[in-house]
Symmetry: C2
C-alpha cells in the first residue's frame, strides 16, 4: 500500500496533492487527488473525508483544476479524495475506441464480462481499496465519510452509497446518470461490463436500488442544470429516481433544478460551495 | 469588427462566453473569453471591465477554467476579458519550436524583427484593438478599465498600464516577469521580437518603465508565491521593480509574498478573490 507523491501545491492554505499507487483490485497503477485542508496539515487533526467521482472522459485532473472545490474544503476542513474514472495502462483491445466505454468510462461497476472483468472493478476500488488506502495514509475521522460526483460519477456516488448503507454519511450528485438501465450510456456500459441479461443490471442502477432500499434512512441531494443537453437527451433521467424515492419512506431527496445551467464544470463550480457545505454539515454533526 | 460566439455557459448567474474575431492588428483570427456578470445580462447595466493576460503556453482557456474568477467577478459585477497569448494560425517558421517564444509566447510587445513583425503585435492588440472591440460590443462603463495578469501576462499588464497612463484605473499582477531585460525568458523574447540592441528593449520592461515613470500617480499590486521555482530561478525579479518604485514618488506598490505558494493556477485561484476585490474597489470608486 505504498503511495508515490506525484505532485503537491499549496492551495487555500491547504495542499492539493496527487498520488499514484498500485491497485490490487484493478491490477494496475492508479492516480488520485487528495486535498488536505489546513487543519489536517498544521495540527494533523483528523478530518472527515469526502470522495468525488468524475464523469465520462475525465481523469483525476478535471475536478482538481476546474471545480474550485479547494476553497470550500479548506474552509470546512474536509479532506477530499478524487480517483480516476477507469483502470489505466492496461491492455484490453477496444478500450480506447469510444469516449463512453473503456478508458475514462469505468462506470463504477465491477465488470463480469471478459475481457473487462480482469481490471474494470471501479466499484470495489472506490468503496473498499481506496477507502482503506485513505484510512491508512491520511488523518481521517473514522466513520465520517461522504461521497459525491458528476454525471457518470453522480451515478457512481449514488450506487456506492445505496449499496453500502452506513459507509457514507452524506451523498450528493451533480447531473447524475440516475437510471442507467433506461438510457443509452448506461445500456451500452452495462451490456459491455455486466452482460446481456438486464436482470444483472439492476444492482448497478440508482433508481432501481432506490425502489428496493429498506435499510438506514438515506438522504440524497441531487443537483441538475435545467439547460443540460444530456438531460434533454434522456441520458440522466433524474425524474425516474425522484419517482422511485417518492414511493420509499427510507429515502429522502433534495432536488434542485438550476435554470440556465448546462452539464459542464461551470455548473459544478457554481454550486460546489453549496454541496460542500451540505456534506460538511452532515459529516461534522454530533 | 464582427464577433463570432464560439461558446457560452451560465456561471454564477453570469455567462462565460468565448468569441472569435478577425484581428486587423495581428492579421489573423483571434479567440478571447468574456465573462458577463448578472448585471450586464439582466439589466444590461454598464459595468467596469477587467482584462486578464495569461502566461507562457496558455490560450484563452486556462484562466477561464482554472482560476475560479467568475464567482468574484459576478459578485462585483465586473466584465472580465481574457485574450490569447499570441497570434494563432499564422505561418511563421519556427513559431512552434519552443514554449517560451512564438506561439503561446507573444510577450505583449510589438515585434520589430522579421518575420515576427507582420503578426506579433500583442501590445497594440491588447491596448487598442481589443479595447475597441470590447467597447463596441459589451456594456462597459467608459473609463472604468482594469488590467491584471500572470507571469508573462503579469509583465504584460504592468507594461500596458505603465506605457498608457490613464488607460487603466487598476493594475495587478501574479508573479510577473518584472524585469525581462535581466532574465533568460525576457532576453530570448526581446532578442527575437525586438532585435539585438538592448536599448530598444527598455520600453518593454516594467522595472525600467517604473524607473522613468513621471505621469499620473500609479499604484501596482504585485502578488508573489514565495516557493515559486521561477522566482528562485531569477526569471521574475520582482525585487528589482520594487527597488525602482522605491525611488519614484509617482509609483506606489503593494507587494504580497505568500509563504509556500508556487507559480501555478493553485496560487492564482487562492488569491484571485483579493485581486478582483482590489480592482472592483478602484473601478467603482466615485
Amino acid at each position: 500500500m505504498t503511495l508515490e507523491l506525484v505532485s503537491t501545491a499549496k492551495s487555500f492554505e491547504g495542499e492539493q496533492r496527487v498520488y499514484r499507487h498500485r491497485s490490487s483490485t484493478l491490477d494496475c497503477e492508479m492516480t488520485f487527488g487528495v486535498f488536505l485542508p489546513p487543519a489536517a496539515l498544521e495540527e494533523k487533526s483528523p478530518c472527515p473525508v469526502l470522495f468525488f467521482l468524475s464523469g465520462l472522459t475525465c481523469s483525476h485532473e478535471n475536478f482538481i483544476q476546474k471545480s474550485g472545490f479547494q476553497q470550500h474544503a479548506a474552509r470546512h476542513n474536509l479532506i477530499v479524495v478524487n480517483p480516476d474514472t477507469s483502470p489505466r495502462g492496461v491492455d484490453i483491445a477496444g478500450q480506447d475506441d469510444s469516449y463512453d466505454f473503456g478508458s475514462g468510462a469505468g462506470f463504477y461497476v465491477d465488470a463480469k464480462q471478459e475481457p473487462w472483468s480482469k481490471h474494470y472493478k471501479m466499484y470495489s476500488y472506490v468503496t473498499q481499496e481506496l477507502v482503506d488506502v485513505v484510512n491508512a495514509n491520511f488523518p481521517v475521522v473514522p466513520g465520517r465519510r461522504g461521497i459525491f460526483g458528476h454525471s457518470m460519477g453522480g451515478h457512481g456516488a449514488l450506487i456506492c452509497a445505496l449499496k453500502n448503507p452506513g459507509l457514507y454519511q452524506s451523498v450528493s450528485a451533480f447531473a447524475p446518470i440516475a437510471n442507467p438501465t433506461e438510457c443509452p450510456w448506461g445500456q451500452k456500459a452495462f451490456a459491455g461490463y455486466i452482460g446481456s441479461n438486464p436482470d444483472d443490471w439492476a444492482q448497478w442502477d440508482a433508481t432501481l436500488l432506490v425502489s428496493h432500499y429498506e435499510s438506514t434512512p438515506q438522504e440524497l441531494f441531487i443537483d441538475q442544470g435545467a439547460s443540460d443537453n444530456f438531460l434533454q437527451a434522456k441520458q440522466l433521467l433524474p425524474e425516474n429516481l425522484l419517482t422511485a424515492a417518492d414511493g420509499n419512506e427510507h429515502i429522502q431527496t433534495i432536488y434542485k433544478q438550476r435554470a440556465g445551467y448546462d452539464h459542464s464544470y461551470f455548473f459544478i463550480a457554481t454550486f460546489i460551495a453549496e454541496h460542500i457545505s451540505y456534506h460538511a454539515k452532515l459529516l461534522t454533526a454530533t
